[in-house]
């Protein structure tokens, strides 16, 4: 006797493989909405339709029902298209349209255009507390599928495949604790790597070194030197668009969350050199109705020298804020780990709108049991309007060493490939030093993933899917990033990366930046349910 399939809450399987989220029980409803829209659109001529598309923000297109609903509810017959009106002035007059504005892209401090700069006149995006699509229940306990692997071959790499196979054979030997074999293989890799060119050689060299450290138990020292790491990250920021994308998309979400608020407080878990904040300050300075009063709390690790980096960064930002007339307050917190923080420390004020921001920080917490849960608990106690998170889109935290090795090999190969293509676009050429330092930056991550274990292994990247369930358990639900954020991120890429192979992809309301077809980082935004 097979148990009955649930007939509600079940996501339709046929649509799921095609990338759509449609509940089986809702199909008739979706069909009805499609008909409704078809009818309404019939009265438009093509010009009006594409104009409408340009003016509407779309969210989470996988959820067909809510996508249709957003168009139905936002759908007012537009009066005859008036070609004489200035679209940039129209926004305050028109009832249901949002217009992106083009601010100055030329300066270093890129202000963020987009609907967030104008007060919302459209009803907020449709209910985003969709339940997590449940897996279709089967009567037989499903075996968890192995984690996917996404290698990307750049044509000349076919002869690099042998090198990849040798690396994986070596990793397998390490997993089986057959260190004699591993040793022989790692020496072989050295020879093979030399005959490769470009990215493949560099990646192979870093992975071989990391394997050697693991085999000979020569664990890397100084992995926690934050000043050095910050310096490396600055070069990485200059070389390629990943960090710029991260800051840009997170800022976009924060700006939207701050719309109409007069007192705001950003808590940055990843303060470092504070590179994310000038652009946000600039955008807030330019919003109509004027900027809010802005408070920034920056968290950073203790410094190894005499200087107080956190305070210096804060001071520079204060100067900038003053120059653009934004009321600014700053506080720096030194903490060895985010898990050492408590909500009370932040002294959240009455009437203050809070945004918590974390760029490539949360995965480190996975090295200690209970840490991520503690931090998410603290975040929820802060009652933030929004939590913005950017993380590497990869599972480098699997329990089996070989899985971690394989996944990270493919991931960093693609990352290094993308670095090779950097320096072509953008306003300034990327210096050799920037590139080399970026490689060192990534090389340290590789070493950590492969050679370290326990609390030392901090590069415990996990995929968006995995983070979703963590955030869900902590009481958060997704705030969807829309088509306007997507479009602006694409424009940013075209500006900074010459668009050379970089792609933005929308995935269940979140945005991912990848190189060609391989997503590499994911930006997501969250709020309390």
């Amino acid at each position: 006797m097979w148990p009955c399939q649930p007939d509600d809450g079940g996501v339709d399987e046929h649509f799921a493989v095609l990338g759509y989220n449609v509940k089986s029980s809702d199909m008739a409803g979706v069909a009805q909405k499609l008909e409704q829209l078809e009818e309404a659109m019939g009265s438009f001529h093509q010009e009006g339709l594409s104009q409408l598309a340009d003016e509407t923000v779309h969210y989470n297109p996988s959820d067909i029902a809510s996508w249709l609903e957003s168009m139905i509810s936002g759908f007012n017959p537009i009066p005859e298209f008036d070609s004489s009106s200035d679209p940039f002035l129209e926004s305050s007059a028109s009832v249901n349209s949002q217009m992106p504005i083009d601010l100055d892209f030329g300066s270093d401090l890129i202000a963020i255009p987009g609907k967030a700069v104008y007060p919302r006149t459209q009803p907020p995006p449709p209910e985003q507390n969709q339940p997590q699509p449940k897996k279709l229940k089967t009567s037989i306990a499903a075996v968890a599928p192995p984690p996917p692997a996404t290698p990307l071959l750049v044509d000349s790499q076919e002869n690099g495949i042998r090198l990849v196979h040798t690396l994986m054979a070596c990793a397998e030997a390490v997993q089986q604790e057959n260190f004699k074999l591993a040793e022989a293989l790692v020496k072989n890799i050295g020879f093979l790597a030399v005959s490769q060119a470009g990215a493949m050689r560099k990646v192979a060299t870093y992975f071989a070194e990391a394997l050697a450290r693991r085999i000979y138990k020569l664990y890397p020292a100084n992995q926690q030197d934050s000043a050095f790491n910050d310096m490396l990250q600055m070069h990485f920021y200059e070389t390629c668009p990943y960090l710029k994308f991260a800051h840009f998309t997170a800022n976009q979400a924060i700006l939207e969350a701050f719309a109409g608020k007069s007192r705001v407080h950003v808590i940055d878990f990843s303060m470092k050199q504070g590179m994310q904040w000038p652009a946000l300050l600039q955008a807030l300075a330019l919003r109509p109705g004027g900027p809010p009063s802005f408070r920034l709390t920056g968290i950073g690790p203790p410094s190894h020298d005499e200087t107080d980096h956190l305070q210096e960064v804060g001071w520079r930002l204060a100067q900038l804020a003053e120059s653009i007339n934004v009321e600014f307050e700053y506080r720096g917190f030194v903490a060895n780990s985010l898990a050492d923080l408590d909500a009370a420390m932040f002294e959240i004020r009455e009437g203050e709108t809070v945004a918590v921001n974390s760029i490539f920080e949360l995965h480190q917490l996975l090295a200690r049991p209970g840490a991520i849960e503690k931090v998410l608990q603290v975040v929820s106690e802060l009652k933030p309007e929004i939590l913005t998170v950017v993380e590497q889109e990869a599972n480098h935290n699997g329990s089996a060493f070989l899985d971690r090795f394989t996944e990270s090999l493919h991931y960093y190969s693609t990352l290094f490939d993308s670095l090779e293509s950097c320096g072509g676009g953008g306003e300034e050429a990327v210096s050799v030093q920037d590139k080399v330092m970026s490689e060192v930056y990534l090389g340290r991550q590789i070493c950590n993933v492969v050679a370290c274990e326990g609390v030392d292994r901090v590069e415990r990247h996990e995929t968006l899917e995995q983070w979703k369930s963590r955030f869900g358990s902590a009481g958060f639900e997704a705030v969807h990033l829309g088509s306007n954020a997507y479009k602006q991120a694409s424009m940013l890429l075209a500006l900074f990366a010459g668009g050379d192979g970089y792609r933005v992809d929308e995935n269940n309301g979140c945005l991912m930046l990848g190189w060609h077809t391989r997503p590499l980082i994911a930006t997501s935004a969250w709020k309390l349910r």
Partner: protein, 336 residues
């Protein structure tokens, strides 16, 4: 609409209507296209080198176009499930493993090899035909017009033909056994790539055209009869041709009207045998049937599979008899 829903299964109706709706928002009357919104709305999936359902996939970047083509290979029984890409050994040294070079549809404008609908379809092809599949990303219009798609198709074909790891057959007689396939604009591309392949001496064993995109200045009976009835309007078809063909050209251009007033002769050409699948509710069927007749006239081997009650896009969902017929037909076409 309700009548249409009775003819077309509900899933297919919802899927194709959703595409139709999105595409309506993207085409602008001045011929430009909302590319960003198109990419945003498209549902993509990544390749997966870990075998699933007996096959694995990986992407390879073509330096010429900067686009990533997707390769699907049958998983080998004796290899560990490790996500290893096998590019050192041939597909088989005991039997023939066909390689299908697939061109996705989208009227030359939409979709890509990463689109979920096409990734799924290619996987079904691998399974049914026990073949390897190479899904080609060709440069799309209106940003890249004729002949970019054909150039990219030919480049991909030659690349496939020269891969040692795509060869199969008996040990002393290894070669790449190539079939070209495509739906909608992909079918059109398959035809034109086969033409060029014939010219350049690259052997193509067969062409599979799934409601291919052909047309002309004339308005055929089927176009008039079915205009606006089953998801497609002639007006839209015109827009896509204007976006693909060189500026100032009309639909009698030989890329579009293959056997029309400006057509090339296929006499004596080493053109592969063809399987042409026509959906009985597709307004372009007169052009597709005309194509079949044109091939016959030049003495080429062609089979027509006419699916009376099928609409465009019927093959995206497997839950109907048209899909079954299609897969059976493709399988025997390749095996014969």
């Amino acid at each position: 609409m309700l009548f249409l829903q009775r003819v077309v299964p509900l899933h297919t109706w919802i899927l194709i209507s959703t595409f139709k709706l999105s595409y309506n928002l993207l085409r602008r009357p001045d011929g430009t296209f909302n590319r960003d919104l198109n990419e945003y709305l498209d549902r993509n999936v990544t390749a997966n080198a870990v075998p699933v359902d007996g096959m694995y996939s990986f992407d390879t970047v073509d330096r010429l176009t900067g686009l990533a083509n997707r390769i699907y290979l049958p998983a080998r029984d004796n290899e560990p499930q490790l996500g290893i890409v096998e590019v050192e050994k041939p597909l088989s040294t005991s039997e023939v493993v066909p390689v299908i070079v697939f061109f996705h549809g989208g009227s030359f404008v939409h979709s890509s090899a990463s689109s979920a609908i096409y990734d799924t379809f290619c996987r079904r092809l691998v399974k049914t035909c026990k073949a390897a599949v190479v899904s080609v990303n060709y440069r799309r219009s209106p940003e890249h017009r004729y002949p970019c798609a054909y150039d990219d198709g030919l480049t991909a074909l030659k690349w496939v033909n020269s891969r040692a790891w795509l060869r199969s057959g008996k040990e002393n007689d290894l070669k790449v056994h190539i079939y070209l396939a495509g739906d909608s604009s992909g079918g059109n591309i398959a035809h034109h790539v086969a033409l060029r392949a014939a010219d350049e001496g690259v052997e193509v064993l067969g062409n599979i055209l799934l409601h291919p995109l052909f047309g002309g200045e004339e308005r055929t009976e089927s176009e008039k009869r079915l205009d606006g009835k089953y998801f497609v309007r002639i007006q839209e078809r015109d827009w896509y041709w204007r976006a693909y063909l060189p500026e100032g050209e009309d639909r009698d251009h030989p890329a579009c009207n293959v056997f029309g007033p400006r057509s090339l002769s296929l006499e004596g050409l080493s053109f592969p045998k063809s399987l042409v699948v026509v959906a009985g509710l597709d307004l372009l069927q007169d052009w597709q049937i005309g194509y079949v007749e044109g091939l016959k006239k030049y003495g080429h081997d062609v089979k027509l599979l006419y699916l009376e009650k099928a609409t465009i896009g019927f093959y995206f969902l497997p839950n109907n008899e048209h899909f079954e017929s299609l897969m059976d037909e493709i399988k025997s076409f390749i095996q014969s």
